[in-house]
Symmetry: C3
Subunit: 428 residues, 3 copies
């Protein structure tokens, strides 16, 4: 099974409406939908209070209803209208307040006056509402009734994990979020594209590497996951990718791992250079996602991010404007293809070695023109160059960089040459 | 004995008229001429059918006559007029054909309509004639008689080898071709310049390195040579140079070894940078000569090429236009000088170490002005800088790069400082 | 005690009038003044004739008076007017000469006709006078009486040495000159700024490194010093700085050590890049001070020079125009600050390691906003980035380069994080 752009977009649509936070029923509802696509997805839970390095799993938050009733009796900032209206992790509330008192708990964006901002307060108990600046500006003096029907109780943090066994115990890790409420690029796109990738890999006839997909709440989720799995992660992971902000068509962005030239960095750069050469490479100083944890000192998992419009770098970011119109089937499918190409390179990143000294007499194998003046085809040249660099010390990716061609254009050549016994291949 | 440009050109002229191929009497005739200049040149032979890695020595080809008689009784494409007229390795033939049938065996260059192309078919038995497009276009309908008086028989492949003993068993290798028929730059220039170099080295009063010159048929000749000498080549060769396309004055070209920064690469670049700074450096992807074999995986001999107009990069390439007018005494002599400078650097590429700590009191040795305000000469500065970098870890070439001067400008300084016991020198 | 720009300038003024050479009473008078500022400065002496590598300590030179009396009875080139008038190390003389004979011993600068040049002849016994070209041009025919009341006798070479003990036996070395007569930038500025630095370091409450300041005659002084102290220098010195030409405001100059990327090179470049980004970096080929000895083969002390207008690169160099007007309190103080920043970096160039895996929950420590939409301050971002790079393998300087901030902006952060037990720190 392989999802096309429209199907990935449909999945994003299904995820969009759910009111998610870092814990609570929204995460479980989300993971249940993903399980429809990935039946082997395991849903894990970690209890409130569990220590994870410097952090503790917070209380579980659930919300049933939230709104403000104005002096004129109209509902404002109604959770039922848009789940961005409530500050995530708001404590229960049922009070009457003056407009002045109320305003201390209201958030808006003067520069984007018709957008609702996205605000959270996971680790400091408070409450608040988000609304458009246009609405905020027109609130009249009077008494406002605030209703927040939420619960903050001991419970669990949930995440999803899918392990896909390959021939090798070495793993490629994909990480994405299930904590953002109704926003498109950041972040219904990530889990949707990751699901499509996991589905595609699951259905490959064979895989050299094993693959691990984790669908986690941002920050606390990755910290929790790492604290439970550090030793295995460090032992097995050869490359990790963060899948987020992968839904729009406005830009291509790349954020390398902290080491800047790790395996996933080099693979991702090669793919972007060949498929989306206008991409922008950001510095690790501009990081803002779970590479913060995976690349942290002592964890040291090489994690690269291929993105479209990067978090913090597009005006719609973390507002109601980052909606289902901002992302598209085209944007999602292109992102999916980029990651697929990364996987294809990794799977085929073998070290070929020519089985003769000097050149082969390629015309014997039908791989070279027999007459000196005949024009060589592009493929003939590629084969000839590929063999020249096949000394057992250069990987397919390194040879592709030398030959200034996409690595995937060499895979069939590698296979044909191996079948004809002209090369032998190694993994390193 | 040392050949000047005119003498090198005369040798090229003598070689030009001979009908050569990768085997046969033309090669022997060529080597016999070279022996006049290099009496110690050994002529080797390897029997048809001998296995050389993935190749076998082909049958020996000789040709006595070849022409076509047209409907009007005139001879066309007569070997006696130009030995490019026959496709090299054409099988014997004596038939009458219609123009249409004949044309399947005719080769011309529509873009260079008055030039005869150079075509070979060593490994596929066929026959053909090359002629100018102007002649081809004017052939009239009718019956054509084809005569090829050639032989393809068991025999030998010949090559020449000259070994010049030095103080060290470490060797510098020069390789050039004796298989091209009547063309000037590619390739009467290569064996002519190589002969001049070998002659000059032979007559040096002493040599640190040993030198090996091989005069071989392209591709099969180098493969054959390597297959017979691989172990010694790998054990002894510190640097190798390919000598081809060294006769014209239009351009300077450089093709590095596959490693791009081997010893001969660095020596050749230094020489070109200082003597012909407008040279073009090509990528190893644009290789096309025997570095294909010497730099192949498992052979790994570092071979660099200093050229003038590079094969495939000049319109006259592999046509009758690459003639004795295309090359010149000036072009040949300049190329000869470039290689001579490479040898001079290699011979003198010592590691000097100053025999004092701190600076010497150079005025004591007459190497520095005694008064503080006196202007230092360029040579004084050179000595002073040379000593500053003479720590026993930098070679003459590396110091020259640091000092931004030609390496040969430091040789006398090195010798004077060694004579005055200010430095000791090492080989590495 | 810490000297400000005015006080450094006052010291330079006091040093200016003294008639110095590489030996003699001028050096002792100079060192006696420096001892007023640095009571622990030790004054060393090395006897004439002592062998120092390729050199010998020369005779001690002292001069009481020197002048020429012209045909009209007027004194010319009177040492009492300007001590540049006498060629340093001139032998005693009392003769009458024709103008033609006299001129063989006169030095002037046609291109700078109102300046007196600075000329020395330490190692060849001769005599001479320096005067402005304007004066020289107007000398009339006639008899000239030359009086040089000098002595060249067995004696000593003096230098000053100050050792400031730190917690570690590893040392930072500062070297400057006490041999130049009345010139400002080259070189009353060097010993004045070095004295200010030594004074500041002495008064620091604690120091990690030990510091060594040497006030030496150029060339023979450093050679002498190195010959007596080579083993200790090589064992202890982690970085060395040459302090010369540090008094004017026209330019910032940097001359790296011969290795070009040693510790003092990297520290100095970082300081200049952040405080004087328009600085010029010179090649080691343009060296001309005691780095010639310290960076020589077999000595190998990494010595970098931060300068203002570099010797040989300003028209006033080695003339009477390099006077007290050419330097200024501002120029001296800015130079002093650059070196101070080098020391501050070295002292704090620790290797921090975060004491958790994954990120800290910084809001717990008051180091991060608790709500997701709050703007992070510059300092918050700096802390967050600093911790991300604190893996125990990167020094403070290396982290600063990654974070593109001055290294000193991270010192308080490092200390706060260490106090809060979020990092541990190492020296390497």
């Amino acid at each position: 099974m392989s999802l096309n752009g429209k199907e990935i977009y449909s999945l994003a649509e299904r995820l969009f409406g759910i009111c998610r936070s870092i814990t609570g029923p929204g995460v479980r509802e989300t993971l249940a939908i993903l399980q429809e696509y990935l039946p082997k997805l395991k849903i894990e839970e970690v209890a409130t209070g569990t220590k994870c390095f410097d952090w503790n799993i917070p209380k579980e938050w659930s919300i049933n209803d939230a709104f403000i009733i104005g002096p004129d009796g109209n509902k404002i900032a109604n959770l039922k209208d848009n789940n961005l209206h409530i500050v995530s992790y708001s404590i229960p509330m049922d009070v009457e307040l003056s407009l002045e008192e109320l305003k201390k708990h209201l958030y808006s964006l003067p520069d984007l006056p018709d957008a609702i901002p996205y605000v959270t307060s996971y680790y400091k108990e408070t409450w608040g509402f988000c609304l458009s600046h246009n609405v905020l500006e027109n609130l009249k003096e009077g008494s406002y009734k605030v209703v927040i029907d939420s619960k903050l109780e001991n419970g669990v943090l949930n995440y999803g994990e899918l392990f896909i066994q390959g021939e090798s115990s070495e793993e490629v890790l994909f990480s994405t979020y299930v904590c953002h409420p109704s926003m498109g690029n950041n972040e219904c796109s990530g889990p949707s594209v990751a699901t499509a990738l996991a589905s595609w890999i699951t259905n490959l006839p064979k895989r050299h590497y094993s693959y691990r997909f984790i669908f986690i709440p941002e920050t606390i989720g990755s910290i929790c996951y790492i604290s439970k799995n550090l030793e295995d992660l460090q032992k097995n992971t050869i490359a990790a990718f963060n899948v987020n902000c992968v839904g729009d068509v406005r830009a291509y962005s790349f954020l390398p791992s902290i080491e800047e030239d790790s395996l996933p960095d080099n693979v991702a750069r090669h793919v972007l250079k060949n498929l989306a050469p206008s991409y922008t490479e950001y510095s690790f100083l501009e990081r803002g996602s779970d590479e913060r944890q995976f690349c942290s000192p002592g964890v040291d998992i090489p994690m690269a991010s291929i993105m479209r419009s990067k978090y913090k770098n597009y005006p719609e970011y973390h507002t109601s404007k980052d909606d289902l119109d901002f992302i598209s089937a085209k944007g999602l499918e292109e992102s999916y293809e980029l990651f697929k190409h990364c996987i294809i390179i990794l799977e085929n990143n073998l070290y070929p070695r020519a089985k003769t000294k000097c050149e082969f007499q390629l015309s014997k194998y039908g791989l070279y023109p027999s007459m000196g003046a005949q024009k060589k085809s592009i493929e003939t040249k590629l084969i000839w160059n590929f063999l020249a660099y096949s000394n057992g010390k250069r990987s397919l990716l390194e040879i592709a960089e030398k030959l200034k061609v996409p690595a995937w254009s060499l895979i069939d050549i590698l296979k044909r040459l191996e079948e004809k016994s002209l090369i032998e291949v190694f993994r390193k």
